[in-house]
């Protein structure tokens, strides 16, 4: 059906009537074209433009519980920023955000690459297995959080039971209850969630590398590790850098998983900029301070994106 349409239309291309009708309808057409984009433009402004501007304004105001009753939100300049930056928790949150982001991405990427290389070998069921692997990524984050809470539970969780059965630990590890291991546990769960996405993208990158390159490489003795290092990796770099950039941008703002697993605790051991921003706005009802923190988060994200854009541009120039 679609095939028939295509054949018919290729013949019609460039014939007289098309041109003429175009000229006649030109003005009404421009209006229609605008109408195609208008709803999306309005939605993007309302859902992204407005929030960014509103956050910038709120971060300069004393926007708190009182504002909701009286409507008064006095301007306070940069006071919100100085309050959140000088808070004791700020440097902890910064360090945790960095550890969470770097730890998650590094392991997601390395494990994802290893699995992508493995599934790139042709063997029975590889396609089915690879797509089933996507499941952790598709589950609602709060479902994953709940499941991992039960697995990591200190006294009767299956992880501690298995580890002590294997005599790897003498007493149960308080995965989510001890300030010294909670961040590691949270990063571990986030790695589990992110692996499927990394596998899928890296696999699609691998699939695009032509087989001839490997055949030619084989003649020059490039097999195994050498083939990976001289053929696979250089050809995968573009996909890898997009993936890492997306990884930073998405991971740095993660909130659901942490709230579901630890809520930022114990003893603030898993507080990040995102959880802090949430708490200040929606627990303490200090929207000005929450907005200031989330603006810092956006600024960091943008820095990474600019860094990424500049490095890819340089790569293209070369």
């Amino acid at each position: 059906m679609a095939q028939a349409t295509i054949t018919r239309t290729t013949d019609a291309r460039g014939t007289g009537p098309v041109r003429r009708s175009r000229g006649r309808r030109h003005r009404g057409e421009d209006l229609t074209k605008i109408l195609f984009v208008l709803p999306a433009a309005v939605a993007m402004v309302a859902l992204f433009g407005y929030p960014v501007v509103k956050n910038l304004l709120m971060s300069l105001q004393d926007y708190g519980l009182r504002t909701f009753f009286t409507g008064a939100a006095p301007w306070v300049g940069l006071k919100n920023y100085s309050t959140v930056v000088t808070d004791n928790l700020f440097s902890d949150a910064m360090v945790n955000t960095a550890l969470f982001t770097i730890g998650s991405i590094a392991f997601q990427f390395v494990i994802g690459l290893a699995l992508a290389l493995f599934f790139h070998r042709r063997f029975p069921l590889s396609g089915v297995l690879r797509s089933l692997l996507l499941l952790p990524w598709l589950l609602p984050l709060i479902v994953s959080s709940a499941t991992w809470r039960s697995i990591l539970e200190q006294d009767s969780g299956i992880l501690n039971r298995t580890l002590s059965w294997l005599h790897l630990i003498n007493e149960p590890v308080p995965w989510l209850n001890s300030p010294s291991v909670a961040l590691i546990a949270v990063i571990g769960v986030n790695i589990w969630i992110g692996i499927p996405f990394n596998v899928t993208l890296l696999y699609s990158g691998l699939a695009e590398i032509p087989d001839e390159l490997y055949e030619a490489g084989q003649l020059d003795g490039a097999t195994g590790w050498r083939a990976f290092w001289f053929i696979t990796w250089p050809n995968l770099r573009a996909v890898a850098s997009v993936l890492l950039m997306l990884g930073v941008v998405y991971t740095i703002k993660v909130l659901d998983i942490i709230l579901g697993l630890t809520g930022g605790g114990p003893a603030n051991a898993t507080q990040t900029l995102a959880t802090q921003s949430y708490e200040r706005s929606f627990i303490d009802f200090k929207f000005g301070e929450g907005a200031a923190l989330s603006n810092i988060l956006i600024a960091i994200s943008f820095l990474f994106a600019i860094f990424y854009l500049r490095s890819t541009r340089r790569a293209i120039d070369e």
């Binding site: 295509i6 290729t10 019609a12 291309r13 009708s21 195609f36 984009v37 709803p39 939605a43 859902l47 992204f48 929030p51 509103k54 956050n55 709120m58 063997f123 029975p124 590889s126 297995l129 797509s131 692997l133 996507l134 499941l135 952790p136 598709l138 589950l139 609602p140 984050l141 709060i142 479902v143 709940a146 499941t147 991992w148 039960s150 009767s156 969780g157 299956i158 039971r161 589990w192 692996i195 499927p196 899928t200 993208l201 699609s204 996909v239 997306l246 941008v249 740095i252 659901d256 709230l259 579901g260 995102a274 921003s277 949430y278 706005s281 929606f282 907005a291 989330s294 988060l297 956006i298």
Partner: protein, 271 residues
């Protein structure tokens, strides 16, 4: 020949083992949901005496929330596609310097943390009375649905030959009619992909559910699970049963719409 067949069989075994490790938590969720309430977590590896008491409890306590989530997710799909599809078409077919501006805006929008949107929408909703409402949550969830749908649909529509629409125009159809009569039917697959992902995003939403509802009236199931987790968990089997029920859309979509899912994951990211 024989040697390589053996090797491939070994790969398959390794592949299955990798999958078993990666999907163990999902299995564990299912296993725990079938255990009796007292000793849910101390259960063995197999639900030898499965009981559905967890599900009974989950359905009686969270059934309404599941329906709420379903309504919100469906609404998000409809609204997101209605808004995103014409725009994706425009960004793929119209020649204008605004195209790159629009694409850049969409990419930048991916960097905006959800908490920023929640902060602003809360204050706006509070004023216009959209807090604790299903339309409010549908609108908020469009923040993840619309940009993603535009990217997916556009990457597909880029491959549509312009002559396709022009032919219809010869027959006197306006731009909009040609879009509805020709572009939409051909784009069926990518519309399904974009719709599935909008559904999953909205179904999985937790942040907007948490911040844009303040009292019990409207409560998506993600929020229900969070409240279960709030303090010491009393009934793990009910929590896990709710988790299983909330995971059903993801599982169904993965099995039934495998090719769309992989296409979506790649199409939405590599742009």
């Amino acid at each position: 020949m024989n040697d390589s067949a053996v090797r491939r069989a070994v790969y398959t075994v390794i592949g299955v083992l990798i999958l078993v490790v990666m999907l163990f938590p999902v299995y564990w969720m299912l296993n725990a949901s079938l255990q009796p309430s007292g000793n849910t977590l101390t259960a063995g590896f197999l639900p030898l005496h499965p009981t559905f008491s967890g599900y009974q409890r989950a359905l009686s306590e969270q059934g309404g929330n599941l329906v709420t989530s379903l309504i919100i997710a469906t609404g998000t799909v409809i609204l997101s596609l209605a808004i995103a599809t014409p725009c994706a078409y425009a960004l793929s077919q119209f020649r204008s310097r605004w195209v790159s501006v629009g694409l850049l805006a969409i990419l930048i929008s991916q960097m905006i943390p959800g908490i920023v949107i929640a902060n602003a929408l809360y204050t706006a909703y509070e004023r216009i009375g959209l807090l604790n409402s299903i339309p409010g949550l549908i609108l908020a969830n469009c923040a993840s649905g619309i940009p993603f749908a535009i990217l997916i649909l556009r990457s597909f529509m880029l491959s549509l030959p312009p002559s396709l629409v022009e032919a219809a125009r010869v027959d006197g159809a306006g731009l909009f009619r040609a879009f509805v009569a020709i572009v939409l039917p051909i784009s069926k697959n990518s519309l399904i992909t974009a719709g599935l992902f909008s559904f999953l995003f909205s179904w999985s939403d937790f942040l907007f559910a948490l911040t844009l509802t303040t009292k019990g009236g409207v409560r998506p199931v993600t929020l229900g699970i969070y409240q279960y987790l709030g303090t010491q968990v009393q009934n793990w089997n009910a929590v896990m049963a709710t988790a299983v029920l909330s995971a059903i859309p993801a599982i169904v979509l993965l099995v039934a719409a495998q090719k769309y899912i992989a296409a979506g994951a790649i199409g939405g990211a590599v742009k």
